[in-house]
Structure formats: C-alpha cells, structure tokens
Symmetry: C2
Subunit: 395 residues, 2 copies
Amino acid sequence: MTQSFYPPQRTLMGPGPSDVAPRVLAALARPTIGHLDPLFVELMDEIKGLLQYAFQTENELTIPVSAPGSAGMEACFVNLVAPGDTVIVCQNGVFGARMRENVERCGATAVMVEDAWGTPVDPQKVEDALKAHPEASTLAFVHAETSTGARSDGKTLCELAQQHEALVIMDTVTSLGGIELKVDDWGADAVYSGSQKCLSCVPGISPVTFSPRAVARIQNREHKVQSWFLDMQLVMGYWSGESKRAYHHTAPVNALYALHESLVMLREEGLEAAIARHKRNHLALVAGLHAMGLQMAVAEPWRLPQLNAVCIPDGIDDGDVRARLLRDFDLEIGAGLGALAGKTWRIGLMGHASRERNVLTCLNALEAVLKGAGASIDSGAAIDAANACWREQGA
Amino acid sequence: MTQSFYPPQRTLMGPGPSDVAPRVLAALARPTIGHLDPLFVELMDEIKGLLQYAFQTENELTIPVSAPGSAGMEACFVNLVAPGDTVIVCQNGVFGARMRENVERCGATAVMVEDAWGTPVDPQKVEDALKAHPEASTLAFVHAETSTGARSDGKTLCELAQQHEALVIMDTVTSLGGIELKVDDWGADAVYSGSQKCLSCVPGISPVTFSPRAVARIQNREHKVQSWFLDMQLVMGYWSGESKRAYHHTAPVNALYALHESLVMLREEGLEAAIARHKRNHLALVAGLHAMGLQMAVAEPWRLPQLNAVCIPDGIDDGDVRARLLRDFDLEIGAGLGALAGKTWRIGLMGHASRERNVLTCLNALEAVLKGAGASIDSGAAIDAANACWREQGA
C-alpha cells in the first residue's frame, strides 16, 4: 500500500521553487481555520497591505490569486483584454510566448515585438510598435525573464505605454522582492508574480495588483470575463473586507498563512536590504563562476541577480551534471528552457536561497562535478573568488 | 509592524474547510523540493493512483488541478464545452447557478432544470429536458449540493445522459470520500472535487477525472480552450510521467504533499469504512439535534451525512448563535447560502471532522448557546440521544 512521503532536504537553486524559510514552513502547518472566520478576514487585510509594500503600490486591488503564477498571468489578460483588442506583446523568452497564447485565447490580436533570448526587450522596437499600432490598448512584457535570466527596463517600457495611452501588463514573477520594482512610480497597470521565487514561499499562489485605470477598464467591460474563477469583479468582492465580503471560492487558508509569513519576513528585512542582499550574493557567485572558467549567458547590465544563466561549457553533458548535483549534493539548479535548453544552466539565488552558504554550496558542488566530468579547474579558486568579492563589498 | 499570525485551534464543522488531520498538516510542512525533481514526479504518479481509488475510476486523466474547486469546475466546463453548444444544467442550490455562469462564459447555451433548494435533482425533469433538447452535448449536475445538504441520484442521472448520448459533468466537491461515488460504474465523464471537504486536506486543490470519452472530445476540439491555465491538453502533458513530461506551471508542491497524505489515510481506512463512519456519526448528530427539538432541512433519503442542514428555530438569531459558538467554543458551523441564508445552519461532519468527539462538541455547544438565547431544551438530552444512537449501531 502507498506510504507517506518524506522528501529529502534539497538546496533549491533552480528557477523556483526556491528554498523556503523554516518560519514559512512552520506558518504553513498551523491549524486551519475557516475562510470566513473573522480572524482570517483580518489576515487577508494584512496580506493586502504587505503585498502593497512588496509591489510598492497603493493600488486597492492588490491580492493573492489562489493559484500559481500562470493563473495570475491569465487573470491579468482575461480581465484587461476583450475580443477584438490589439495587444503589443514583447517576447524575449518563454513567457512572452505564453502571453501571446493568453491574448489569442481572449479573442484579441497579439502584435509581437521580438528580441533575442537572453537580451532585454528593446524599447525602440516597442515604441515603433506602439506608433505603428495606435489601436493597441495594452502593452505586455516580462520584467525578469525566468527562462533566460535577463532583466528588461520596466520603467522605460511603462513610460512608452503611457505616452501612447496603452495600459501595461507586467510579469514580475521572478522580480518581486529580488530587484527594484516600483509599480506606482512606473505606472504599471496589471502586475502578477509568484509566491515561490524571491518571496521564498511555497509554490501555488500568485500575488497580483491592478491600478485604478485597470479597475476602471474592468468595470467598463462590455464582454463578461471569460473565466469565472479569475473574474476580478467577483474576486474583488471576496477580498473587499468583512462587512461587504461576498463568497467567491474557498481561499487556500494554509498557503496564505505561509505567504503572510514570507511577506512579514520581507517587511522585517526591508525591501531595499533584500534587494541589496540579492545583488551582493549574485556578485560573489559570478566571481566564483568566472574563477572556475564559466561564462555568464546574459550581458552584465541585464543580469538578474536572483537568476544566473551560465553557459554550459563545450563537451559537458547538461543533464548528467544536474543529475549528479542532485544525487551527490542534494542541490537543484535549473536547466535551460526553450531555445536555451542544453545551452545554459539557471542558478537561482532567490529569497531565502540568496545566502552565502548557498553560494558556497553551489560553487563547491559544481567544481567537484565538473572536475569529475574532466574539466580543468583550480581547486578552491571559485570559493576564494567569492570570498574576495564579499570582502570587497564589506560585511 | 505586522506580526506573524497564530491562528486559534478551531473545530471546523462548517461546509469546509473541515478539520485537517495532524498527519496532513505535518506532511504540508515537509521541506519543499523542486516540481521537476524525480522524487516529486514519482509523488505525482502516486497521487494519480490514489485519486483513481478515491474516485473509483481507471481514467488515465485523473489529477489534482492546482487551484480550488471552483477552478476544477471551470476546468471541466472550458474543456468539454465549446461555443454554440447546448448544456443541460441542473440547479437545486448555489452551485448549479455557478455551472450556468461557466456554460455561458464558454459561449454556450444553458438549458436549466430547476428544483427547489434542499431537494434532489428530479430525474424526470432531466429526462424531459434531454428529450426536448436532443442537441444537448452535455448534462451537468451537482452530486452533493454544499449549499443545501441534499444529495442527488448520480447513478440515475448519468444513465439518462448516456441514453441521450450526452456527456456528464458532475460536481463531487462535497461527496468525494463521504458518500458512495463510482465514477466508472456510473459513467460520469468530467468530475471535479475539492481537497478541503471529506478528504480533510487543506483548501486550494481540486481533484478532477476525465473519462476516455471526455478526453476524445477535448482532443477533437475545433476551438482552443479559452483558459491556458486549465487547458487539459497542456495539463495532461505536465502530468504524463517523467520521460515525456512537459513544463506547464509550477505545481503547488507542499499542498500536494498534504493531498497525498490525506489520500494515503483514506486508502488505509478504506473507502467503504470511511463512508460508513460518515453515516454513523451523521445518524448520532441527527438523533441529538432531534432530541434538542431541532428539525433537519432535507428529507431523510436525500440527506448528506457529511453536511447536515438544520432549520434555525423561530426567534433565534442566526449570526448571533454562530458568533457565540465561535467565540465561546472555538466551533465553526456554516450559515445558509443564497435562498437558505438565515433559514438553516450547515453542520459539517466531513473527513477527519466526522468523529464522535466532534458530534459531542457540537451538540454540547449548541445546547448551551441555544439555552442562552432562551430556547427550552432538556439538559443532556442531545448527548444521551447521540450516545444511544451509536450504541444501537454497534461499536
């Protein structure tokens, strides 16, 4: 008969889920209470406030969608896009293609702006597309491409959209809590993220925020939103506070305990400190990787500190290295996706995983496995380089 | 600054979430591993097998949707229903109306078969509707109406649909694991449930199963499924086993640990024993409620043992009683929904909450609160009646 499952203790340095802090796992396992319990309604209000802090927004409609980031993406598209609309979609990795799927399933037309994988979205191309398509109601792009490790210039892209009176849908699945992200300052309108990246919560929840402009568009829709589960007019009612709260679905109570705890931890550390920590450990990791003779796949100005894409050296078997890291070191790093499959590894330093011990664990394990595979690497050079980098940056 | 959240230890006897077993909470908090980890892929396979047992099916496409029951409902509709279709929708409570919303958002026409809230779906009306609408491709009904506590005759309704060559979408959110449910024997085609009812897992996951007929319809669709997140052609690829597994979304890893554990517990107890336990404790609760002078809202043959709808006596304030139960006894029972708001309470005895101690806790607390509200009730009569009922049923 099937037995209980006892997972091993992995070190999660892939593209997510990332290492979950013990405090978050402890919160997850607290006793379940009802989703209509007055204490749970208070918790929901606290989560809204904490998410507003994380997103740097005063948007009233700032909530966790009760499903993974890909449902958060869909929530943004089905609410803001209607049949017949034109949406400019930037693609420089896997998730731009998924945005296109969403646009087309809304009965709208996607105008694609394509850039090479591993490079940022080119603002000039976006401006050209906005000029060529004055009918476009929405610009959609990925702030931090999880599939490539490249950051795009969210602020500039939002400004371009505003100049052309288009609303902005922005994917911040991998950026929230890891790099600068200012929803209100930039003027993004519908923004979604995931719980399992730089928030270091368990996977399954998608924080979203909608600007007053986005809410007005939703309220003025002529077509009903095609998804009942993700219809923000209904979800808003569920998250609107105790007195006027309308039942919609049953919130994932324990997952929201965990999200709350991860957001409390972010608030305690402070957003700027968390972002600085991600940067600091990223630089040490890169110093170590360079000392090992490995090359980064993304140019320096556009590298995501929380997701480091590394070129796989010639002659090294991608799957074999990752399997050995997992088997011998309980260490998970990510494979390349799509066009980068077999060409890069993706090393996450996200949230609770962005720690010195994880950088050291990864460099040490990678050195051992690559040596085992016949690569010529100086013993300890990577660790020395990482330590030197931390010293240079101060305590 | 916002603090960590420490919920009280409630007794959950509403319409769900139900009391979660300590074993399930312990599983929930185990270390997160990657959703592509080979050990996690094995776990997914085990979950499929355990769900097949719970649903009593050999359907290959039997998986947990990574979102609550209302998303499981939507998954069934958006995959099986296409624009222009006709769907016969039975409504005898809140969730039939939600089915109608789903049908209409698919661009299809819902033919409604209406029955009074608290009564079962009338098979004769369904047969009449199927005859009057030979173009209907699908029959949709709720097996166990969470809003009213009434069971419908799933077997007979499935047979009628088969006679008219319609596929069946069946809501088993509250029935799975609590009353007889035989997906293959009955011939239901798309069936969804929830984790937080008789499985006594935490809320947030929706087990679903699709028959080979349903899968064939999905594979032959001319219109793309309007939801990317819930498109079963894509989800199937994610759940299809390690070698050919295609990335779709990030599974809610820890929630699936918990679901797995709750299903292992069901397997250990055995489905028939679990169903008998629900029945036994239901009869004792009803004996106690009757001894207290309370009346059940649903006629005996159609009562759900796991969700007991009780008429609120004249002169008793619904909200006041529930607030006192929560405040003074940490006991949650459910309010009436929709047409039954203010008229009934819903007392859940679901999964881990279907225990003698919960029956006694509820009868004792309700007696105290109703007495406090001025009702005339013999002290201890309810507890005596429940004990007598258990004795009559044997150990």
